[in-house]
């Protein structure tokens, strides 16, 4: 087996069937959950700091504003099947988080096309959006709203969430009195109770104590058993190998390899040597 190199197209990605997105033919391809077509993301930063509006206006009128373009992702073609767990590896700054943001709808690609079928639950950082002065109960409702749930939906979920986080004793205490482990447990419980079609996990399985880590891993397994698609970013190669059916290696914004985890990891490691 040879891994595709940069010049090779990503031969091992089944690109043959396009994901149909017109409503009338939607049923004809149920398999593809995520599809990136020739995606590029370009950050445009002014090449020098322009301190004031006055200065900016003058230069703008003179046509003298120079932008430094930075392509965080380039020519990325990738498709992820429904129910698949895909691991993303690569050095810091390779574009992994940018890729996740595209799928979570946080960023819109500069060029190319992103297609996502199903609800996406981001598991980027637990407790982002929690407020320390509010109680656990209030934070659950607030966080649920952030994820797009109605009050009624949250009422249904509430008990399950507190059960999972094992926080019944502290649920009406303000979050500032929680330990960081409790904080993480609550965040994980809220974010994973949503039964997403696509779960995005960005380097977060390391929080909490061992028991909780096991619980988190079990819950991930549950998701996969139910047919959810999982995107996992990690520097922990063992985890990638263990959990993922396929791995993708990003390098300087380009997809270097996609394939079996052990092979992709090997190629990645060779490049690091």
């Amino acid at each position: 087996m040879t891994l595709p190199t940069v010049s090779d197209p990503m031969v091992d990605i089944p690109l043959s069937q396009p994901l149909v997105d017109s409503p009338d033919t939607r049923g004809s391809n149920l398999m593809e959950a995520i599809r990136l077509e020739n995606v590029g993301v370009c950050y445009r930063a002014p090449s020098e700091r322009i301190p004031s509006i006055k200065e900016y206006t003058i230069r703008w009128l003179q046509g003298k504003i120079k932008h430094r373009e930075f392509w965080a992702l380039q020519e990325v073609n990738l498709s992820v099947m429904k129910g698949e767990t895909l691991g993303l590896i690569g050095n810091n700054g390779a574009g992994k988080s940018t890729l996740l943001k595209l799928i979570a709808r946080v960023l819109r690609p500069t060029i190319g096309r992103v297609l996502v079928r199903g609800n996406v639950a981001p598991l980027l950082e637990y407790g982002a959006g929690f407020h320390p002065e509010l109680t656990g109960r209030e934070n659950i409702y607030l966080n649920g709203a952030l994820l797009g749930y109605s009050r009624k939906q949250m009422e249904e979920k509430f008990e399950r969430i507190v059960d999972f986080a094992e926080l019944w004793d502290f649920i009406d205490a303000p979050l500032r009195t929680y330990s960081s482990g409790m904080w993480a447990r609550l965040g994980f419980a809220v974010a994973t109770d949503v039964q997403p079609d696509i779960l995005i996990v960005d380097e977060v399985l390391s929080v909490g104590d061992e028991t909780f880590q096991r619980k988190s891993a079990d819950r991930m397994q549950e998701f996969r058993n139910r047919g959810a698609t999982v995107l996992l970013v990690s520097h922990n190669m063992n985890l990638i190998e263990e959990m993922c059916q396929r791995a993708a290696w990003l390098d300087h914004g380009r997809l270097r390899a996609v394939g079996k985890p052990d092979e992709v990891i090997q190629a990645y490691r060779r490049s690091q040597a």
């Binding site: 997105d21 595209l102 960023l107 297609l115 996406v120 002065e133 649920g144 797009g148």
Partner: protein
């Protein structure tokens, strides 16, 4: 049958309409955020939520004293000032909050998708709730100042709605600029002070020298404050033309702000 939602980045309707649709989908977030804003503010205090009324009441008492005793105006003058001040506080607070919420909520914007207008809309909703609370101390002062509380006050939701629309429009415009130039947040503080004195809040338009009266007429807040004040201070229902002018100002500001903001919204995650 497959009924999963499909997101396609290449399909783009009108950003302004799409933003509106998403906002409606996230209406629970707007409510929860407004709730948080109000609860958190008084959470650690002993009197708690009572401060939402005590706070304006305190300000009110001081103002009434200053205006009726120190400046020697009629005691009803305090009601004039207060009703204007209510509008002003609402406007100043919500427009600044819209801007700050978007900038400080930026961390969130980078992590998960939420409609970008949520920040401004929940700021305005928070302001409206606070405004309702501060109607109570206003009425207390009206009793003391012997300004009759009339049924005309039942019309207040309309002027309040216009004010909210105007504030939301301005808040969105400011937020859009602030994403590119953070300096705007500081500049706006200064601008607000100037704007306050250019609006007939603590003075009456007829107190101004004739030569300067036109300045007031250029000020959109003048029309909005008047519409709000008439049912309280004058005890009258504003005439149709007053409604129309204020309504037109509010609507056009909101539409411009909303369209501009949503057309730039995709850029925010790149910038914040």
């Amino acid at each position: 049958m497959d009924s999963l939602p499909v997101y396609d980045s290449s399909r783009r309707g009108m950003p302004a309409l799409e933003e509106l649709r998403e906002l409606l989908r996230y209406s629970n977030l707007v409510i929860q955020t407004a709730r948080r804003n109000i609860v958190v503010r008084y959470k650690r205090s002993i009197l708690g939520i009572a401060w939402t009324m005590l706070n304006p009441l305190g300000t009110t008492l001081i103002l009434s004293f200053v205006f009726s005793r120190v400046f020697g105006g009629a005691s009803s003058y305090a009601v004039y000032v207060l009703s204007g001040l209510l509008c002003w506080t609402f406007f100043a607070q919500t427009t600044s909050d819209s801007m700050h919420n978007l900038i400080w909520g930026g961390n969130l914007l980078k992590r998960i998708y939420v409609p970008r207008t949520v920040f401004a809309v929940s700021a305005v909703l928070t302001g409206l709730i606070n405004m309702v609370f501060s109607l109570v101390p206003l009425m207390v002062v009206m009793l003391f100042a012997r300004v009759p509380i009339r049924l005309t006050m039942l019309i207040l939701p309309i002027p309040a709605l216009f004010l909210a629309m105007f504030a939301l429009g301005v808040g969105l415009i400011l937020s859009t600029i602030a994403i590119y130039f953070i300096d705007v947040t500081e500049m706006y503080t200064i601008l607000l002070t100037a704007w306050f004195y250019l609006s007939p809040i603590i003075y009456r338009k007829d107190m101004l020298p004739q030569d300067y009266a036109w300045v007031v007429h250029l000020n959109p807040m003048y029309y909005l404050i008047n519409l709000f004040r008439a049912p309280i201070y004058d005890g009258r229902i504003p005439v149709l033309s007053e409604f129309l002018v204020a309504g037109a100002i509010a609507l056009s500001t909101l539409v411009v702000g909303w369209i501009w903001f949503s057309s730039r919204a995709d850029d925010f995650a790149y910038r914040v």
